[in-house]
Symmetry: C2
Subunit: 598 residues, 2 copies
């Protein structure tokens, strides 16, 4: 046993791990100190001459430094499908660093290391560490590698906690922060599961006060903790798909754990595998660090915590993740939006649960977001990555296939104004504004593919549902809020209009006019529910439109709400002619563009 | 230790429990037998002279015979808020019987009882029992009480499994079956949690092969199992509400379990309390019986399993219950509907998780459903209970506040026809049909309050979302399907029309005509999105209507789908005049009633 090697009997040496030992004492956030710290880490790719292409990957509770293969003969890493040459985190472009966390058991100083003061393993005497301590040690490593600023810090779950801590504690050193399947703090439910797992370990008689390194250790308790945790990493639907067809046909395994059910044998296998590679004291240490992580319990506290960040953000949640549920990622995104920080957010529609960020199922979405996010960090106003897919706007208008009003909407926006595009589709308008040099641009869009298209353009867009309003945004946060050809497709009209005039010092609304002459004619003369010719000529029974106001209806609606109308511009897209205010626009225009404010 | 008392040192005697011992051997479903069985049970209220007012309550895994107080000085029972004089299960009206289950530890034969063959407690030698075995023993009890038929069997969770088994295994003995928070079989996720819990017990060194009755027993393992199970009984939102505000301020309790977090101290307390009152071998026995319960893995198997039942059914799920999720209750309801069994279903919008059926939060809904269900079992075509609340129909039409078309719709329905009313509101039409003597009537309605109103009328209605179609129903299952003033309020028009003509040999659709003269005028002359005067005169921005067909639109839609139109009747509700086919109904009628079939 020495200070630079694992003391855990069963820990496999990580072949490619490099180690560096910092001999100065490390003071810890909760008190106490470590006399020295060794960090095990692996790197991939090449640090460029400017030393500005480093991407730090932070691992989750059971991870280690081996994030990917180093060569064809190597063991696969825990994020093999994401990290590597040509992968989402492209090691031909980025210099990837993945350290084992402080308190871990795969090379970095942890409970299974020698305490030089006692001459035996730290064991249960290992001091309580926090996510901030993990980051502080990683920061020493980055300094050791002579890297002043990270292109990005990337992490899922507990790794996301580390990434967020980097961004807020060391803002000058982080250009991009990508957080997957994480949270501002754990739910009480998630803590409860961790508590049960720790109790299983600590009350296992073989735990022996934590000094079990000469013997078998608390194999039953650790396996129980892992089985339980494993269930929380999967979604109910994923477990149904995997185990329901043959629930009473367990795989045969050598185990003293119950094997009546297929899922039981699977969990027993997972428990045994984990005991082979993980140290129980590390598990207790890391799960406690995760449970104590807390960026803020209230929106205000969270906003204050995240405000110091200076990086761009990518936040990704997964719809079936019930351990770190999407609403928690949205709390982070809400706080970033309120603090006016650039952020892209996507709740990926995946069935894999918390583990979805490690799975193939939606790799093209979360991997695509990661790749495009890293590419967009080249500088402010980054250009779209080569070959980014073009995408048509969402078909929310029945009235015209060309957004003929777009050019006019752009003209109405003052140079340099900050703009929020609500229902931004694939980001066409925002991209044109960026081309004009607007610095602060953001979008809101519900469609996952549209969010991905925005990311491909290097735009910041959050996947929120307009029907919920715009609660994260502050009053008057943007010079201009756009609602372009979206009014007619939302149900909660009043809430959305209230919200856009709250958030925008000025708002521009473009919408189709239901009292356009051909539509009037269709109902009045033909007795048919109106529709227009062209590719968006939906039938009454399948139109995506939900609301059917005329120009007069919307004007009265705004008057009744006491809104001020600054401009109103009317277009007849059939004849491609602008209609003057005295030319009966309510009959002769099919599109209205209105500039409003409270 | 004797055969009629618990051998578990810590089990409290249940003061009011009666006991009966059946001396004949009991053969068990999975093989093996018990030489004799004692049943502990409590009763409430009085069995009437006809012996037909008995309600059997089946308890969940940790319950016992003490379902409610017997007098003011008594300890509260586990369903105190539901059972008692004047309560939902009114002991002044019903003779309530609650037995402890076979394999339990509170008086009925279980692992902590003496095995007369060995002279010591059964312990781990207690044979595996199933839900069917539990019911077989309850049936002996019912015979012992000289009750030929139960008014109802009622149970939540594992109690629901017992209730369903009663209904299908002994159809002649059950008039009503009420199943709360239950499922046709456990999810693989739920089994996984049970597996971890059982492993914690069985791998606790103090388990001692199950013969621990002389000592402390597997207190740590049983407490861990209970802590884990307790988390699964609560919803994430309920835990957040209870523990998040002060997550690091645990109540002080005497425990060797972790107490860093509020939720941890709470779970430790729950674990210790459980160990005081429950036997680990019983827990293993009952949780295994629950995990093995399986009414069928496929819709066809489930339908075959439930088809033998001859009772009316009440199925209640709870929106936040993730252990026995609503979709599993819907599987049961789907199968009952497909088998043409009378069933009422409600997914109660409660935050309490699986435990919601034990809580105050939505007692007025699930208790109300139970009370009305029991009252409606007086006989076929039961009359509404006294004082049942009247309720207005859901405001889904903008066109008229009186359903003037209802009388005409009723006339169109052949005498004695089976009728499914899709979007049935509070059940007005169905109640009138019942008054006419129709035997097979059912409703589908999304609104919880409307479902409750239907139940108050003694009608069978399921709380399903029309937007999902009518998948549980068979082709041509009903003589008539009604879609009355609902067409305009649903988005998936085509799916719903396809479904009603599939399920009904004939369908009657009534809907408002968007090309009615005053509406045409409003758009054509005033340039305003049409609305009508009266209490349902919604504005364009807040109408609940989603689709706006004219009579001509709907006719063409039906033609294009190849549907046959048998009758079409048109009403001008403004002038209260029927409009003939040659009187331009598409202009002069505001309501159309159309009879269609495939």
């Amino acid at each position: 046993m020495d200070t630079s090697s694992d003391t855990l009997r069963s820990a496999l040496p990580l072949r490619h791990a490099q180690k560096v030992t910092f001999a100065e004492p490390v003071a810890l956030a909760l008190g106490g100190a470590l006399p020295a710290v060794t960090v095990a880490y692996e790197t991939y790719g090449t640090l460029n001459a400017a030393r500005d292409n480093a991407v730090l990957i932070c691992h989750a509770i059971s991870g280690d430094s081996h994030v990917a293969r180093h060569d064809a003969g190597d063991e696969p890493g825990w994020w093999e499908r994401v990290v590597g040459p040509g992968r989402a985190i492209d090691t031909e472009r980025w210099f990837v660093i993945c350290p084992n966390v402080l308190g871990g058991c795969r090379g970095t100083t942890g409970p299974n290391h020698l305490d030089p003061r006692s001459g035996r393993a730290y064991g249960a005497e290992f001091p309580a560490v926090t996510v901030a301590d993990m980051v502080a040690v990683q920061r020493r490593l980055i300094a050791h590698l002579d890297i002043a600023q990270l292109r990005a810090v990337v992490g899922g779950s507990l790794g996301g906690h580390q990434a967020m801590t980097w961004a807020v504690a060391h803002p000058a050193q982080v250009r991009g922060c990508a957080v997957l399947a994480s949270s501002p703090r754990l739910t009480s439910q998630a803590i409860a599961f961790d508590v049960v797992g720790r109790n299983a370990i600590l009350r296992d008689p073989a735990y022996a006060g934590g000094q079990y390194y000469g013997g078998d250790g608390p194999a039953v308790g650790l396996a129980l903790a892992r089985m339980l945790a494993h269930v929380t990493y999967l979604s109910r639907e994923a477990m149904t798909a995997k185990f329901d067809a043959a629930r009473l046909a367990p795989r045969e395994i050598a185990s003293a754990f119950e094997q009546k059910f297929s899922v039981g044998a699977y969990l027993a296998h997972q428990g045994h595998k984990f005991v082979e590679r993980f140290d129980a004291n590390s598990y207790v240490t890391l799960s406690m660090a995760m449970d104590l992580f807390d960026l803020g319990a209230t929106p205000a506290a969270l906003r204050a915590a995240l405000a110091p960040s200076r990086c761009r953000w990518l936040v990704v949640s997964f719809g079936s993740d019930w351990l770190f549920p999407a609403e928690q990622s949205r709390q982070v995104v809400d706080a970033l939006l309120a603090a006016d920080r650039p952020v892209t957010y996507c709740n990926v529609d995946a069935s894999g649960g918390h583990d979805a960020f490690l799975l193939d199922e939606k790799l093209e979405v979360y991997g695509g977001l990661l790749a495009r996010f890293l590419a967009s960090l080249d500088g402010p106003g980054a250009t779209p990555s080569a070959g980014a897919p073009a995408r048509a706007p969402a078909p929310t208008s029945i009235f015209h296939d060309q957004r003929l009003d777009s050019a006019r909407v752009l003209e109405l926006i003052p140079a340099g104004a900050s703009v929020l595009d609500v229902g931004c589709g694939g980001g066409e308008l925002l991209a044109r504004l960026r081309g004009r040099g607007h610095a602060r641009l953001a979008g809101v869009e519900l469609d996952e593919a549209a969010v991905l298209a925005c990311a491909a353009r290097g735009l910041d867009v959050v996947q929120y549902d307009l029907e919920d309003g715009l609660p994260p945004f502050r009053d008057g946060q943007f010079d201009v809020v756009l609602l372009s050809q979206t009014l007619q497709s939302v149900v909660h009209t009043e809430r959305i209009v209230d919200e856009i005039v709250r958030v925008g010092r000025s708002v521009i609304v473009s919408f189709p006019n239901f009292a356009y002459r051909s539509l009037r004619r269709m109902l009045a003369e033909e007795g048919r529910s109106p529709k227009a010719d062209g590719p968006y000529s939906f039938e009454w029974y399948n139109t995506p439109n939900r609301r059917f106001p005329s120009i007069a209806d919307f004007a009265e609606f705004c008057r009744a709400k006491g809104l001020r109308q600054h401009r109103a511009i009317y277009l007849d897209s059939e004849t491609r002619r602008w209609i003057g205010p005295n030319e009966d626009p309510n009959r002769n225009a099919d599109v209205a563009i209105v500039v409003l404010s409270r």
